[in-house]
């Protein structure tokens, strides 16, 4: 596992000035064998998330621990966050849904079991689903996510089930901190509480991670950042999981509002600010890749990250669909996607070559409106989120997401929405869009954010680098003066989440 634990991520290398990111279709400097295993996995490869989709099937409703940020009683089709589903599925219903989705969305390459409870607290349903899917759709990659409590008992079953990737949620390695996050666990037919519960949990999580790493299964660690409880501690968690062979670390912001009925929501525990989250992610970056494109999706999400299509695949609809698995069609489609990816990277590399001779210490942040495929293909007014790229002479580095509520919402306060978006991306120098109306355009210019629409439907990396090149040129010629933009939005008034 040395090759996994010791590699430096693509973003880490961008930091040190080496322009390796983006080479070989987004591989960065990942070892070839690892890249082969993650290149089509939207959650494990940041580049893949532009092109490939995943789905979760909600076959695992039971859980064996209680977390203070979770309340699975709440269910709403309009809510998008972990632990939320609209309907539970049996393994048989799940496999039918998988085939229906694979037929409709040929870029769906990954099936995950992520609850709404814990995949391994429902071992019979989880492993039956995986076996049925392997039989029906052998090209789909399997993954599951778990809190890790039952993990050591199922490592060999996971290997036999041909699971490619496992995500373990690890929020602490110190039981004293754990006691503030987990009120209880159910283990060995007994309910444990307090520090004793957290000690058992952390020991089982780390043991399970080590066992999976030994067997060559790629492990992603999810951590929920909870200000004043585990925020500083997550650096230590990062070290602990990196040394045990984790491949990717995903630090997510706590989602906490009273309406969700979670313990943290009700006691007023706040979530982190976008800036706090980014600072922590930056502090952890180094020996392990940090995932920054997580959308904290539902346990029955379907589609590209950030574009949930689960409502199209309810059990009723799936039963009506004519489903038969067409492997050839899927392969042909995915081949087209691969070709597109290669040309996207080549275009970016070519543009980067033009800027590499420039010596400039300038870095700027830009926002991009995109629907996927690595293209600038979203209308400013329709964007629910902007992808943030940090531009420098070493390239365009993806650094996170800013979620906003759509500007073009019929009916109310359009002027208001514009000012919300401008506040949300006020630390950006420019916003890249496929199209933008005259009114928001002049509003943005007034606020000092350049609306860029001349790269509509072109590749993100290539276009942002081209723009950056021109920007640096103008600064050099003294046509404009480079100024640092304002600070990013702050909690609590700002409805933002980054990454």
């Amino acid at each position: 596992m040395q090759s996994i634990t010791e590699h430096k991520g693509c973003r880490a290398s961008a930091k040190t000035g080496r322009a390796s990111c983006g080479s070989q279709a987004g591989r960065g400097d990942l070892p070839v064998e690892i890249w082969e295993r993650v290149k089509n996995h939207p959650c494990y490869s940041e580049d893949a998330h532009h092109h490939y989709a995943r789905m979760h099937v909600a076959v695992a409703p039971a859980c064996n621990i209680q977390c203070n940020y979770c309340n699975r009683k709440y269910d709403c089709a309009n809510e998008s966050r972990p632990g939320v589903v609209s309907e539970k599925l049996t393994p048989e219903q799940a496999v039918r849904k998988v085939i229906a989705v694979a037929t409709t969305i040929p870029q769906m390459t990954v099936l995950g079991i992520a609850g709404p409870g814990d995949a391994l607290a429902n071992p019979a349903k989880t492993f039956k689903t995986l076996a049925l899917v392997t039989e029906a759709a052998p090209d789909i990659k399997l993954c599951l996510s778990t809190n890790g409590l039952a993990l050591p008992d199922y490592v060999d079953t996971i290997v036999r089930a041909k699971v490619d990737h496992v995500t373990i949620t690890i929020n602490m390695v110190d039981p004293e901190i754990g006691a503030k996050i987990y009120p209880w666990i159910f283990f060995n037919h007994k309910r444990y509480t307090g520090i004793e519960a957290a000690r058992i949990l952390t020991n089982r999580q780390l043991q399970g991670l080590e066992m999976l790493s030994e067997r060559g299964i790629l492990c992603k660690i999810n951590s929920v950042m909870i200000p004043n409880i585990n925020d500083d501690h997550l650096v230590e968690v990062n070290k602990a999981v990196t040394s045990r062979g984790a491949f990717l670390h995903n630090i997510m912001p706590l989602i906490s509002v009273p309406e969700h009925g979670t313990a943290f929501g009700l006691n007023g525990q706040r979530g982190p600010t976008a800036q706090e989250l980014k600072t922590l992610q930056d502090a952890c970056e180094g020996k392990i890749n940090m995932m920054r494109h997580c959308r904290q999706c539902r346990a029955d999400a379907v589609g590209l990250l950030g574009e949930d299509r689960s409502a199209e695949f309810t059990s009723d609809q799936v039963m009506k669909m004519d489903v038969h698995y067409d492997l050839e069609m899927r392969k042909a489609y995915q081949k087209r996607v691969e070709n597109e990816r290669v040309s996207k990277v080549a275009a970016g590399q070519k543009e980067l070559a033009g800027v590499s001779g420039e010596m400039s210490a300038i870095t700027v942040l830009v926002a991009v409106a995109t629907k996927g495929s690595g293209l600038i293909n979203e209308h400013f007014g329709h964007a629910n989120e902007f992808q943030l790229y940090e531009l420098s002479t070493s390239g365009a580095k993806f650094v996170g997401l800013r979620r906003v509520e759509g500007y073009c919402q019929a009916g109310y306060g359009e002027e208001d929405r514009l000012s919300v978006i401008m506040r949300d991306i006020r630390d950006c120098h420019a916003v890249f869009v496929a199209k933008i109306g005259g009114c928001p355009k002049s509003g943005l210019i007034k606020a000092g954010i350049e609306p860029v629409d001349q790269f509509a439907y072109e590749y993100i990396e290539k276009s942002t680098i081209a723009w950056f090149r021109a920007y640096v040129g103008k600064v050099k010629r003294g046509e404009i003066q480079h100024v640092q933009r304002g600070v990013p939005p702050r909690w609590p008034g700002d409805r933002i989440s980054a990454a």
Binding site: P61, A62, R72, K73, G117, N122, H189
Partner: protein, 74 residues
């Protein structure tokens, strides 16, 4: 015989079902129910009633005080 599930609070998560040593818990029309005649409070099997220990919602797997054995003698 004494445990019952308060249906209005049950999330139907199924955590209790496989844990019951007496196979007294089943799903009926989307709700989980305990067959009172089979429930032994886990006495002789485990230190604590498994359904109540695993249930994610407090006070949802509870002793059924309506049963005759809990009523004061006449």
């Amino acid at each position: 015989m004494p445990f019952k599930i308060i249906a209005s609070q049950c999330t139907s998560c199924s955590a209790c079902e496989p844990l019951c040593p007496n196979v007294a818990i089943s799903e009926k029309g989307g709700n989980f129910v305990i067959e009172a005649a089979k429930c032994s409070e886990c006495v002789g099997h485990f230190d604590e009633p498994q359904c109540a220990a695993a249930c994610p919602v407090d006070n949802t797997c509870v002793v059924d005080r309506a049963l005759p054995r809990y009523q004061a003698p006449v």
